[in-house]
């Protein structure tokens, strides 16, 4: 008798525990994941080391930008159009500094990425300037700057100087290791620090946050700087992969990063979101592309499928969810 009661209590606790941890009603999400699992299971050749490494590499490049984008989205500033430009600028910096060694390249790229976005964050945070316009303007200015600095040509790194940045660790590609470390760091920053809580509060209600004594300007600026730091990791990874830096390496990352954030289920209006959800979103898109590739679909179909997936993810957050 007691045992059955205990069992009932345990199972109720378990359901509560699960209910608290799983994102709110998510039949659509569960269906999506189930469909995806079925697709993966029936696709031959996806579990070969080669496809897994390709998958990880492509997910890692988008992933670092998407992690950065999460901070901007959660802080209530929708999205930045300048993170792709950040990737381009940082790839150029990394390649240009390669003569001073890998450490100097990485630090230089990080500094450029952080400073570039910190300045935008200052305008958005302290002047309440429109975030979309500021980031579009910044991306345009960065494009001009890169054109002047490089003459539109690729900047080649010293041969071999950046090899340390693409050597696998324990047979895991460096990009995957960087992504994992970045995600851990970002998760701690967002969920386990005062700063992270302030970013979330700022995004959910900026006026209340200001009334509660949060220095909204400084927090916004820091969120942008952090986003720039994560995006510059992608710049470094791209530069070390191609052995060169080119502004166009950053093209398209704004949209694929925000796609990952949205597919992961982070709300575009800010105030909620998680790094793991973003990572899930990025991987869902990457897996879908790989599956379609392995099943012989064209690149065009992959583009269409990604678009439809993002649209479906957005629509699944609509009103039918709450009612």
């Amino acid at each position: 008798m007691t045992q059955s009661v205990n069992r009932a209590t345990v199972s109720r606790h378990l359901t509560d525990w699960l209910a608290n941890r799983l994102p709110a009603p998510s039949y659509v999400r569960i269906t999506t994941v189930a469909l995806l699992v079925a697709l993966i299971a029936t696709t031959p050749g996806i579990f070969t080391p080669r496809s897994l490494i390709t998958l990880l590499n492509s997910a890692a490049l988008v992933g670092c930008v998407a992690i950065g984008m999460t901070f901007i989205t959660v802080s209530g500033n929708i999205l930045s159009f300048a993170l792709g430009a950040t990737v381009g600028l940082c790839a150029i910096t990394c390649a240009a500094l390669s003569g001073f060694g890998a450490v100097a390249s990485v630090l230089g790229a990080l500094a450029v990425g952080i400073l570039f976005n910190l300045l935008q964050g200052a305008l958005v945070g302290f002047l309440k300037a429109n975030s979309l316009i500021v980031t579009i303007a910044a991306a345009t200015l960065a494009g001009g700057l890169a054109e002047v600095a490089t003459g539109g040509q690729a900047v080649y790194a010293d041969p071999g100087s950046l090899d340390a940045l693409k050597a696998p660790i324990l047979s895991i590609p460096m990009a995957g290791v960087v992504l994992l470390l970045a995600a851990l760091l970002a998760h701690v920053a967002l969920k386990h620090t005062l700063f992270g809580q302030q970013v979330i509060m700022l995004g959910s209600n900026a006026r209340a946050a200001a009334a509660a004594g949060i220095r909204t300007g400084a927090v916004t600026m820091a969120a942008y700087a952090l986003a720039g730091g994560f995006a510059s990791l992608t710049g470094v990874l791209a530069a070390s992969r191609y052995g060169a830096g080119l502004f166009e390496y950053g093209t398209g990352y704004d949209y694929s990063a925000i796609a990952g954030v949205l597919v992961g289920g982070t709300s575009i209006v800010g105030g909620e979101g998680s790094i793991w959800a973003t990572l899930l979103g990025v991987f869902v898109i990457a897996i879908l592309s790989t599956v379609l590739l392995l099943r012989g679909f064209s690149t065009q179909m992959q583009l269409l499928a990604t678009g439809a997936l993002v649209l479906a993810a957005v629509l699944s957050q609509g009103r039918w969810h709450r009612s």
């Binding site: 979309l132 949209y255 678009g307 957005v314």
Partner: protein
């Protein structure tokens, strides 16, 4: 002094500001012409208006969505897709190509607006999904290849100068702006749109029917982007799934320069036209001067940034704070203001 104050205040009004900047730009162009740096003639006007025909309708659609406090990100996707549809259909029936593109834009735009209203979703995420989907459709339709449009009769017809500075294409762009100006300025529908953008709740309480207007605005935006893409494809006798011209950044720039705000209710078609014309005059002038694309980027980005900063709601407060800090540093501790002095005295007495 008073005239400067009035000038400063009217700069706050976006439409007036756009026309002032446009006037200065045209003056600059004229001065360059008189100094002999560039040659000015009907061809200059023609070139400016050809640019305007590409950018104008796209910016107008975006401006209308911003007027009702929404934002259509999908414009550049629809612009590229419109060109592809027009060339694919137009290979057989040229007139039908443009109609097909516009119809598709209308329906897809309405679908986006309908989904937003039905599911109570924001326009940014829905149109982001729309952008990626339209881009995917364009790639599937064309096999990710550029298409050629081989009907030379149509190409020369659409590019042929009318009255020296117009073309069929720019005439169409001017016409859509004229229609939009009439609707926004002189009809109940226009008033309703401005009301919706200024305060959604108040407008709905006052009896404005929200759903048809939002759906209609997004349908219009889709149709206008598709129209611009289709006309550009006919004019350049080619189409590409990524669009023949990068319209997203300049369209946003034009709309913002024209006085629109993400807060809604602001910006009129006339302002958007002026904002786009500023960019077109700038582009034509700089190209004629032989300035590199990097410098053009700097100037476009700089103007956008300046507008974003001067529109920042907290700009005044920050300037005031800076002044206060400077006063305190400059005056030193001895020159406390009267109120602070009396507070200091009271504290001492206590």
């Amino acid at each position: 002094m008073a005239s400067i104050m009035i000038g400063a205040r009217s700069l706050r009004n976006g439409t007036t500001r756009a026309f002032i900047i446009l006037f200065v730009m045209l003056l600059g162009l004229l001065v360059c012409g008189m100094l002999g740096l560039i040659s000015i003639g009907p061809a200059t006007g023609f070139s400016i208006l050809q640019n305007f025909a590409t950018l104008g309708p796209v910016a107008l659609g975006l401006g209308l969505t911003m007027l009702v406090r929404e934002f259509d990100i999908s414009i550049s996707g629809m612009f590229g897709l419109g060109g592809c549809i027009a060339v694919l259909v137009g290979a057989l029936y040229p007139a039908l190509g443009i109609v097909a593109a516009v119809m598709f834009g209308l329906i897809a735009g309405a679908a986006q607006g309908g989904l937003m209203m039905w599911l109570r979703l924001g326009s940014v995420p829905v149109t982001l999904g729309g952008l990626l989907t339209f881009n995917g459709i364009a790639n599937v339709l064309t096999g990710s290849e550029s298409l050629r449009f081989t009907n030379n009769k149509i190409v020369s017809l659409i590019n042929e100068p009318l009255l020296g500075f117009l073309s069929l294409r720019s005439l169409a762009a001017v016409l859509v702006f004229a229609v939009a100006t009439l609707i926004i300025g002189w009809t109940r529908l226009g008033r309703d749109m401005i009301a919706l953008g200024s305060s959604r709740q108040a407008a709905v309480s006052a009896g404005v029917s929200e759903t048809p207007i939002i759906v209609g605005v997004f349908a219009t935006s889709g149709a206008l982007s598709a129209l611009a893409g289709a006309m550009l494809s006919y004019s350049l006798s080619a189409a590409s799934p990524s669009g023949l011209s990068d319209v997203a950044v300049p369209a946003v720039a034009g709309v913002i320069l024209g006085g629109a705000s993400l807060l809604g209710g602001a910006g009129r078609p006339a302002g958007t036209a002026a904002g786009v014309l500023i960019l077109c005059v700038l582009a034509t002038g700089l190209t004629a001067l032989g300035v590199s694309s990097a410098i053009r980027d700097f100037i476009t980005g700089g103007i956008l940034l300046a507008v974003a900063i001067s529109d920042g709601p907290d700009l005044g407060r920050r300037i005031y704070e800076l002044k206060a800090i400077r006063r305190r540093i400059g005056g030193g501790a001895g020159s406390l203001r009267p109120l602070e002095q009396s507070v200091a005295r009271t504290t001492k007495q206590l």
